[in-house]
């Protein structure tokens, strides 16, 4: 195996915990990862460990369509108003959020009527105000509607239904974005790789006014000993 690659993989895993012991993680361990699957490739277990029944269900859902084109276009506009691009990452549509929402409402049918109805509500409100469908309204006009429904604690009675819908789609957009590859990177989640936990980085502990006391330090696992086979010779219970 390529030694350089394995050191890189190891580094990726351990440097984040502020700590690196060469030899703590074996080459084989450092290489472990979720399988890379090319798009469109058919893989056993659907590529994420499905049972045959689960896989059949996934495939059925994917083959169905719930939202029509206009609804999808409205979702896309809303999604990017909720999660726009900024200096750290792209927008909700860049991260494929509308496609995620299309799948989720088929997977969780209880979202269907509130979502479809909510989109209708939005067009109705936009037509009422501007004589325009929501997606045809200007961004300022769109935001004026959102301002009336995006703050659940102070919604006027006539906007209650809109606010209910907005909370739902805000949830779906936010979660769709922050669970995408782009969103996870944006959030800075650094796990899901083989690594060796050796505690909270020292500077972080200090910042929070905490420290590992002598007891914790002596009793905790030493990273370099993790691959030794435990011996009970001098151990008494």
């Amino acid at each position: 195996m390529d030694r350089r690659k394995s050191i890189k993989a190891m580094f990726a895993g351990t440097v984040t915990s502020g700590f690196m012991f060469s030899g703590c993680l074996t080459d084989k361990e450092a290489e472990l990862k979720s399988s890379d699957i090319a798009e469109g490739e058919i893989v056993a277990g659907g590529g994420y460990g499905r049972t045959p029944e689960e896989l059949a269900r996934d495939q059925r859902l994917v083959s169905e369509t719930f939202f029509n084109e206009h609804e999808m276009a409205t979702i896309a506009v809303l999604a990017d108003l909720i999660i726009p691009a900024d200096e750290s990452s792209g927008s909700a549509t860049d991260a494929g959020v509308p496609e995620f929402i299309e799948f989720i409402v088929k997977d969780m049918p209880w979202h269907q009527t509130p979502m479809r109805g909510g989109l209708m509500w939005l067009d109705h409100e936009s037509n009422r105000r501007y004589d325009l469908e929501f997606i045809k309204a200007s961004e300022d006009q769109q935001k004026a509607i959102l301002d009336d429904i995006a703050y659940p604690d102070e919604v006027k009675p006539q906007f209650e239904h809109g606010a209910q819908f907005f909370s739902r789609i805000r949830n779906l957009v936010a979660t769709g974005f922050f669970t995408s590859k782009m969103g996870i990177e944006d959030l800075g989640y650094q796990g899901n790789v083989p690594n060796v936990w050796d505690g909270v980085p020292r500077d972080v502990l200090e910042k929070h006014g905490l420290e590992y006391d002598e007891k914790i330090l002596t009793q905790s696992i030493k990273p370099e000993e993790r691959n030794d086979v435990m011996s009970w010779d001098d151990y008494e219970v």
Binding site: R170, N171, D186, G191, V193, G199, Q219, I221, R226
Partner: protein, 580 residues
């Protein structure tokens, strides 16, 4: 060796039903002793290292629902084939009972995804009645079980620390991992309240115990089952080695219906439905061990009706199914403002908490309840999955924004996006898991009308909590609130009041259901003897949580394992003495 059979002429020495904690242990111990064994499992084969089944190290976005729990109760990557409801395998409830029953149908049962919290019962836990007058004592005590706990520790591996606490026995512990940041907070403020905040005791290999299994590489995903077997699952740690012997035949997709008996009332084997062809078959055996989970085994016994045993096998006491009890549970969470805007680093750690609080009071009666509970912690910068970013309107109005001004809850746009980042890793929660008092009137029985898709009569549950459990939940809520508030936390959601039983979960929800074939010396008041053997039928044993007289303020599995090992050795001796 393993195969699925159509017809089997051979007679096995031992037939084991179920491959979870209890069945796996029996298979391991008795296969080593050389017996010819038929291991019956209602679900399919499972190996976490099988790429078709593996979910470890998958990213949320590899699932189209981002890991949501639509088809698997605890999320897409959780390693339980089954859940609270299983198609074609119903159960029913009566008298407004809210009992929920979690089943996993797969090799290894529920040990593939369990929480790995591996606690010994303490001396008091076997003799609670002596102390508080409620329920019943176990016929055995800590000293009877201690040697088996010791063996389980060494065979399977568990991390922890020797603390010398009176009713939290120490074991053969691997070194624990260092605490995470939120756990350091909980330790600091918990200790100020006088709570013992100590390293968790989880069956995860922070260090190797043999050359078969790898050491944990800290992915926080034990609930997905570990591809290098760094955590304990019965499938990989017990059944896999047992199958390396020629004398074990594994029958998968084999749904056992009943235990067969002869005219003398002795068991002769089991009948089962092969799920693949939906036909019924029989396996002959000289001894039958039931380990289909506490309610699963009770169901098989109740369904084993004959002229000699009209109320089911081993049921002369009429107690099979009775004294069903689960742990109590209640939870609460808070936003910890000082954990906002956290520096990012890999905080995965092991697949569970690094610290916990064992029960700390000697006597709780002045608080209006009898038995104790332990506290589990959660929090940290975990892998974002379905639900991450939900409910921002419940968080972002609680604290000042980056500019120092309070915000209106909710919103959208760049500032909302930034809020998700700010709150990531700032919510900390805790769960109390406590001991309930077993009641004869809480039970499962056969539903007189309903069968499952295999034609097997199903269970019907009747279960009511008492004030003991409700008052305990109230105390949990008060403790959570005090600790989280001391940490500077802003409590999330309303504190559940008496009208909601103080947030006490429905029975069954903590998935520690035990007691349905309880142990005792008197055949009139118990179903099995001190060695998990039916009083009525000497060649039938129950080796799951059924024989528990009481469930301590601990999780049950380490005790299931220890008792199964102990009972298997007893069976081995009895066979040698020709007593069964």
């Amino acid at each position: 060796m393993s195969f699925q059979i159509k017809k089997n002429a051979s007679v096995y020495d031992i037939c084991i039903v179920g491959s979870g904690a209890g069945g796996g242990m029996a298979a391991k111990v008795l296969s080593e002793a050389g017996y010819k064994i038929a291991l019956m499992e209602a679900g399919p084969r499972f190996d976490p290292a099988n790429p078709e089944q593996q979910t470890q190290l998958k990213w949320s976005y590899e699932s189209p629902r981002r890991g949501a729990g639509t088809t698997r109760a605890f999320g897409d990557f959780d390693m339980a084939y089954g859940g609270w409801e299983i198609d074609g395998e119903p159960y029913t409830r009566k008298d407004d009972t809210k009992f929920d029953w979690f089943r996993s149908r797969m090799l290894g049962g529920r040990t593939n995804h369990w929480g790995r919290i591996s606690l010994r019962f303490g001396p008091l836990d076997f003799k609670r009645k002596d102390f508080d007058g409620k329920g019943d004592n176990w016929p055995i005590g800590y000293d009877d079980v201690k040697p088996w706990y010791d063996k389980v520790d060494k065979l399977i591996g568990v991390f922890g620390t020797r603390e010398g606490l009176a009713n939290e026995p120490d074991g053969y512990f691997l070194p624990p991992p260092k605490p995470r940041l939120h756990e350091m907070y909980l330790k600091k403020y918990g200790e100020q309240m006088g709570l013992p905040v100590i390293p968790a005791r989880l069956s995860i290999l922070t260090k190797r115990i043999d050359t078969r299994r790898g050491a944990c590489f800290y992915c926080n995903q034990c609930s997905r089952s570990c591809t290098i077997y760094g955590d304990f699952s019965s499938s990989s740690v017990l059944v896999k080695p047992a199958l390396e012997y020629d004398n074990v035949d594994l029958f998968v997709n084999a749904m056992v219906r009943e235990v067969l008996t002869d005219e003398n009332g002795k068991a002769t084997g089991v009948s089962f439905i092969n799920k693949t062809d939906m036909e019924e078959y029989q396996v002959k055996a000289k001894v039958v061990i039931l380990a289909a989970s506490a309610c699963g085994s009770a169901r098989i016994l109740l369904n084993s009706r004959s002229e000699k045993y009209p109320n089911g096998l081993g049921n002369s006491s009429g107690l099979i199914g009775r004294y069903l009890h689960d742990s109590t549970g209640a939870d609460r969470a808070a936003l910890i403002p000082s954990l906002m805007d956290r520096k990012r680093y890999n905080e995965d750690g092991v697949g569970g908490m690094h610290l916990y609080v064992p029960w700390w009071m000697k006597d709780a009666s002045k608080h209006g309840f009898t038995r104790g509970y332990h506290i589990e912690f959660w929090g940290g910068m975990g892998m974002p999955s379905y639900g991450t970013g939900f409910g921002m309107e419940n968080l972002n109005g609680l604290v000042a924004g980056k500019d120092g001004n309070m915000k209106k809850a909710g919103g959208y746009g760049a500032s909302l996006k930034d809020d998700v980042r700010r709150f990531y890793g700032a919510v900390v929660g805790m769960s109390g898991r406590g001991e309930s008092i077993p009641q004869k009137d809480n039970y499962c029985e056969l539903d007189p009308e309903v069968v499952d898709q295999y034609g097997i009569p199903v269970l019907r549950f009747h279960y009511k909590w008492t004030d003991d459990e409700r008052q305990q939940a109230k105390h949990m809520q008060d403790t959570f609130e005090e600790l989280l508030t001391n940490m500077g936390g802003i409590m999330l959601g309303d504190k559940p009041g008496a009208d909601e039983d103080h947030g006490l979960h429905n029975p069954g929800r903590i998935i520690h259901e035990v007691g349905t074939t309880r142990m005792g010396d008197d055949p009139k008041t118990s179903v099995v003897n001190r060695y998990n053997q039916l009083h009525d039928v000497k060649n039938v044993f129950v080796m799951d949580g059924g024989p528990f007289v009481s469930q301590a303020d601990k999780n049950p599995t380490w005790t299931i394992l220890a008792l199964a090992w102990r009972a298997s050795e007893y069976l081995n001796e009895e066979i040698k003495k020709m007593n069964v």
